[in-house]
């Protein structure tokens, strides 16, 4: 809690600062010349933070001679482009916080690179005497992570494939057509968002057994082939597309599939990406359901493999090995995230309710 108090105070201080600078700048603009140009500048000031700084600069250089660059209350104005101490402080604080928050990942990367036979102890938990990939090699020797990786990739892609098809169709139907019972059916589908499939593991496990799918990748994926979240997200996105587009295509003789394929899908790309990102992230990381419906290494995904791995008796508290195994599971997605981080974050931003 202390942390967030400090943060709150910091935000408050910054806002106060900004407020002062702003009113000062506006006074410099309005006081000496009350022209339409100044008024325009002032309204521009309201637009956005980015434009604000630019406007500040112009306002200052246009209205006040270089020698008298002080605000009306006598406070010297900062040189344009200069780093304010407040800004440096805010930056340092944020940097410290970001480092602290990333500590688990930073530590595990470092710990995974220790050479063999250097046990962890107080004051000796970071780098060993050298850097070594020994832990990774051992992890790959102790468990079939390559196979697990293949299973996870297959699983995630199979689920995504079916979800994209089923959700596009359903989302399109709910957005483009009015039909009897549409609201009721939509609500029925949305219950899937309120009751997560894992909570229903007892009856779903029986269903999977009856279908004869136990211990297969299909067993892990099948319950997720229909997605309420995907349907919801795509319906929202489709509703944002002007109806005339679809109607015009219809008049031109397009059937529903052509409308969906050539009008709706291309325009809903951000929503599709958003959904794909969250689906991949979700199913790459899911543990309990795969743990229940798989038994052999042939069908086990990475997460379930890691859970088994950490419980192997001989591994105990070998943190270098544990870190390596942990990163083997997390790294592929983490690297994808670092490369496409803008897509990821925007994807999630697009998937929220607005």
């Amino acid at each position: 809690m202390r942390n967030s108090d400090a943060k709150g105070a910091e935000i408050a201080a910054k806002q106060k600062n900004a407020g002062q600078d702003k009113s000062a700048a506006i006074k410099t603009v309005t006081a000496p010349i009350a022209t339409p140009k100044a008024a325009k500048l002032q309204s521009a000031l309201h637009k956005s933070a980015a434009i604000k700084t630019a406007a500040d600069k112009t306002a200052v250089s246009h209205t006040v001679p270089q020698s008298k660059r002080t605000s009306p209350i006598g406070r010297p104005l900062p040189r344009p482009g200069a780093l304010k101490p407040g800004r440096i402080l805010a930056y340092t604080l944020a940097l410290g916080f970001a480092l602290l928050w990333s500590m688990p990942l930073i530590w595990s990367v470092i710990a995974s690179l220790r050479p063999p036979n250097e046990p962890f102890a107080r004051g000796h938990i970071w780098f060993g005497s050298a850097l070594s990939l020994h832990s990774y090699i051992r992890a790959f020797n102790l468990a079939p992570f390559v196979l697990y990786f293949r299973n996870t990739v297959l699983l995630v892609l199979i689920i995504l494939f079916f979800q994209l098809i089923s959700s596009s169709l359903a989302g399109f139907a709910f957005a483009f057509y009015r039909f009897k019972g549409d609201r009721l059916l939509f609500t029925l589908i949305l219950t899937q968002m309120m009751i997560p499939t894992t909570a229903l593991l007892v009856p779903n496990f029986r269903t999977i057994r009856i279908l004869g799918l136990y211990d297969s990748i299909w067993a892990i994926g099948l319950p997720f082939f229909g997605s309420a979240f995907g349907t919801f997200l795509l319906r929202q996105s489709f509703l944002g597309i002007p109806r005339d587009y679809g109607d015009a295509a219809e008049v031109d003789g397009c059937n529903w599939f052509m409308i969906l394929r050539h009008v709706y899908i291309p325009m809903a790309k951000p929503a599709l990406i958003a959904f794909a990102v969250s689906s991949i992230n979700w199913h790459w990381n899911d543990l309990l359901w795969p743990l229940i419906v798989t038994q052999s290494t042939q069908s086990r995904p990475l997460t379930a493999g890691l859970a088994r791995f950490t419980q192997l008796g001989e591994i105990g508290a070998q943190w270098d090995l544990m870190s390596a195994a942990t990163l083997i599971v997390a790294l592929p997605l983490l690297l994808l995230f670092l490369i496409f981080q803008k897509r990821f974050i925007e994807g999630y931003m697009n998937s929220g309710l607005k």
Partner: protein, 294 residues
Amino acid sequence: MNRRRYHPALPYLLILPTLIFVLIFTVYPALSAGWSSLFEHRLNIPKFREPVFVGLEHYTDFAASEEFRLILGNTLLYAVILVPITVIAALFLALWLRKKRFAAFRIAVFHPAILPMVSAATIWMFFFTPDYGLFNRFLEFFGYRGPENWLSHPDLSLMALIIVAFWKDAGFYMIYYLAGVQSLPEDVFEALKLEGAGPVTTFFRFTLPLLRRTTLFVTTIAVIGAFRAVDHVFVMTQGGPSGRSTLLLYHLWQVRFESLNIGEASALTVVLVVLLLAFTISNFLLSERKGRDA
């Protein structure tokens, strides 16, 4: 406008694939769990190998069971602590890091959301290790002299789970708030500053009400997330010590796959589903009412 260029069955056919999977894996199991919960059905006891009707016995057993009350208490405590602190932290992080120049720091705060919970929990096990674990060293720096063995301490094991979930989720929810914050009308806030409104007034009178829909969305997914949280229990505490960190879904798994008691596990499923529906629906209604008052 009533020209119909499609077969009347078309929309139904389009939703059919989604509907079938929702019916088979959500609606049917929720109902069938209710039915199965009325039977005694245990795979490891010959007498109950075939289900025997017992009515509401499982539920009356729950009411009298010390263990069940402990687990329900754990689960509620977990949700009641975790959801508010995570959501509040997410909001402050979004307000703090909303500027473009902080984008790099956002990645640092968000990345735990990409890690699988198994990985995160495994790393945090090290952090909670007594003596040399980093979390204890960190607390010690701030004067903490309490117990160090978080994972096997009766009062701290549940806290350890909450801490990991907090670390993993705060940045994730921050993204939703960031989307909300960026859609706020900037000129209103500029005007407020010029009018001399303090940051506290601005926050409570404008920012918070304008983010109401985001808050509803985030609290809803946070509550659902809290009730389905189980991965870190598997890795870190296995529900111990003596059930003090057992969450409902973990218990449900234990009853089904360790005790092989299908009847009781079905009754627990019903309890979990009722809790989930009660929390999400009341959260929604509460927010709707507040929205009308505002």
